[in-house]
């Protein structure tokens, strides 16, 4: 089982490396100095955070399509508060509280009320997006403090920014917590078999709510970083991030039926997703190819994955059959395979 997890993330990672190499072969400028690769990584932070949050909800076998609006709302609130001269800490805390509340509401609807997650979060998505229109309207939040904006371009390790390094540490910590601690493994257990998890004493409902809260918090953090990176928030900010996050999770080897995959995979998938538009520039293709390539890559990966799973299931069945006939033959006294 463990080997399988590893293999699933490795596919995504190898795909990313192959992608960089192919672009490097087509246009050698891309690989020179490593700055462009760093730019790919730096540009991915918002996607990474949203995708990691989404990974939690997908691992427990549900989904959260309200993250895009959640991100946008937090970005708008934090941006407006900073614009009005409130202290940064207050603004951040306020943003995080919004994320937690959204997560709690989603968790309540899905885990306690047992409403299909896609539908419930679609509803909250609409409500949050509407609230964002109420806040921002046709105006834009543009006067974000310069110091906050500059923070996003400050680099620590070579060309890698502070935000990227923090994100990497955060993802690493979450991954360790999920794979090494008992509570961390609850998520995968619940996603694999919610009823069974309940029977062996894992609090399935509480775990599901927690997954949604974590998803909400990470979306809120992503919203704050979005505000800093973009420097402006419109009423459409964050629109469509939910679908890209789902795609990133799928690319990273997380099964949408839950219980299979890892947080690191989602992060790698997010880097692939956000790099595609950057890589197009080096391949001298117009940005119109962005969605086409994303769609094709996504479809190829999921279809191949499904076909391979089907094949391995058939092979396993065949192997079992062979083994059974072999033992039957031995009982009769003389069969060799």
């Amino acid at each position: 089982m463990k080997k399988l997890f590893k293999a699933r993330e490795m596919t995504a990672f190898l795909f990313l490396v192959a992608l960089f190499l192919v672009v490097g072969v087509i246009n050698p400028d891309f690989l020179r100095g490593g700055e462009n690769i760093a730019a790919c990584f730096n540009g991915a932070i918002v996607y990474i955070l949203v995708a990691v949050g989404m990974a939690f909800t997908i691992l427990i076998g549900e989904i959260d399509v309200s993250v895009g609006s959640n991100l946008g709302l937090v970005a708008a609130v934090v941006g407006t508060m900073m614009q009005n001269g409130e202290s940064w800490i207050k603004a951040f805390l306020f943003g995080l509280i919004i994320g937690i509340i959204v997560g709690l509401i989603n968790g309540w609807g899905v885990a306690v009320m047992k409403i299909p997650s896609l539908i419930f979060t679609l509803g909250t998505n609409g409500v949050l997006r509407g609230m964002m229109f109420l806040m921002v309207g046709t105006k834009q939040v543009t006067d974000v403090p310069v110091a906050f904006k500059n923070l996003s371009s400050k680099s620590v390790v070579g060309p890698l920014t502070v935000f990227f390094c923090c994100t990497v540490v955060l993802v690493a910590v979450i991954q360790l917590l999920m794979s090494r601690t008992k509570r961390g493994r609850y998520f995968i257990a619940v996603g694999d078999n919610a009823g069974g998890a309940d029977l062996v004493g894992i609090p399935a409902t509480r775990t599901k709510v927690l997954a949604y809260v974590i998803c909400g918090i990470l979306a809120a953090v992503a919203g704050i970083l979005f505000c800093s990176r973009a420097g402006q928030v419109t009423s459409l900010s964050g629109n469509g991030y939910e679908m890209k996050a789902v795609a990133a999770c799928v690319l990273g080897g997380i099964s949408l039926s839950g219980g299979l995959g890892s947080v690191v995979g989602a992060a790698v998938g997010a880097i692939i997703m956000s790099s595609i538009s950057y890589l197009l520039v080096f391949m001298k293709l117009s940005s119109y190819y962005d969605n086409v390539i994303t769609g094709i890559v996504l479809l190829i990966i999921v279809v191949l994955d499904a076909l391979m799973q089907h094949r391995s299931a058939v092979n396993n069945r065949h192997a079992r059959l062979v083994a059974r006939t072999a033992t039957a033959g031995v009982e009769k006294g003389g069969g060799e395979q």
């Binding site: 989904i63 609807g109 009320m113 047992k114 409403i115 299909p116 896609l118 539908i119 419930f120 679609l122 509803g123 909250t124 998505n125 609409g126 409500v127 949050l128 997006r129 509407g130 609230m131 229109f133 109420l134 309207g137 009423s235 679908m243 789902v246 795609a247 799928v250 949408l256 039926s257 117009s286 119109y288 190819y289 962005d290 969605n291 086409v292 390539i293 994303t294 769609g295 094709i296 996504l298 479809l299 999921v302 279809v303 994955d305 499904a306 076909l307 089907h310």
Partner: protein, 348 residues
Amino acid sequence: MKKRSFSLGGLTKGPNFGWNMFLVIVLIAEFIIFGMKNSKFLRVSLLLNASNDFLPICFISIFVTFVMITGGIDIQAGSIVGLTSIVIGILWQELGLNVWVAVVLAVIVAGCCGALSGFFVAYCRVQAMVVTLGGSFLYSGLALLVASLSSTEMYKGLSIESESFRAFTKTKLFGVIPLQIILFLVMLLIAYILLHRSKYGRKIYLVGVNPSAAEYSGVNSRAVIMSTYILSGIAAGITGVFMTSQFSNTALPSHGSTLTMSIITACVLGGTLSTGGKGSVIGTALAAIIIGLVRFGMPLCFNINKQYLDIPIGLLLVVVVVGRAVASNPAVIAKVGKLRKKDAAGAR
């Protein structure tokens, strides 16, 4: 499924009858509330004109209901709308085809898009959500790519100079009823017959309730599943034609990009179970009209900006699903049953 319809009490006579009655009541309530606030709302010509705004949702959601009954979901229909629109524009402008030939070809393209996704879902056993997510990226991307083939700037769109095409959404039967209402009724009738009055419809339900039972009883469940995606693709294509004609004959790749949420909301509000096996065309159509009237009535009667309309529709969706979850909760059902018994005893 049986348990649920039992929980709704004696109201369930036909499939989804109780729920449809509830939707009709909501619809009447909408008319009363909006009508009392602003009598303009009740003007028939205004209402019929407003139908342009929400007919796209009706067209698509009716056929997405088919997909959802088989246990799948379709979030790519919105992007197929844009692709159809731009294909018509390109065929007309760059290849110089007759508009109506272009329309037919574009609808065929839309059907092929649906078929591709349906093939992956049915024959490769990939989850519908993922496939149609990939499809929505692919088809909206293709729309942009195809649009970049044209010589005109994309944001302006491709303007189609054809009177007969413009007439498609401007003609009014007997001077009142717009042609697209007739189109809607025809599509509704076709969908109703397909789903509720034909063998094919029974197969769709059976596949949704229990795919392996369907397979064992000789239903080619994969072909049935794939066909539902083709149907929803074609419906999206027709919507693309309609929207192109309606927006002063301009083909834009962005047509329909915002429809996804409304479509799913209409299906769910109409009583379709997202896990499959339950749903009705009439329910979805009623729900789509309810959503459409909210979109039309709120700005007219309460001066609410159109951009804020996501709030009431999102709330409506949440309230309905929470309400239904409460109503089907065994504890609540037991309590209601007890109250009824008490009433019966008291009446005696």
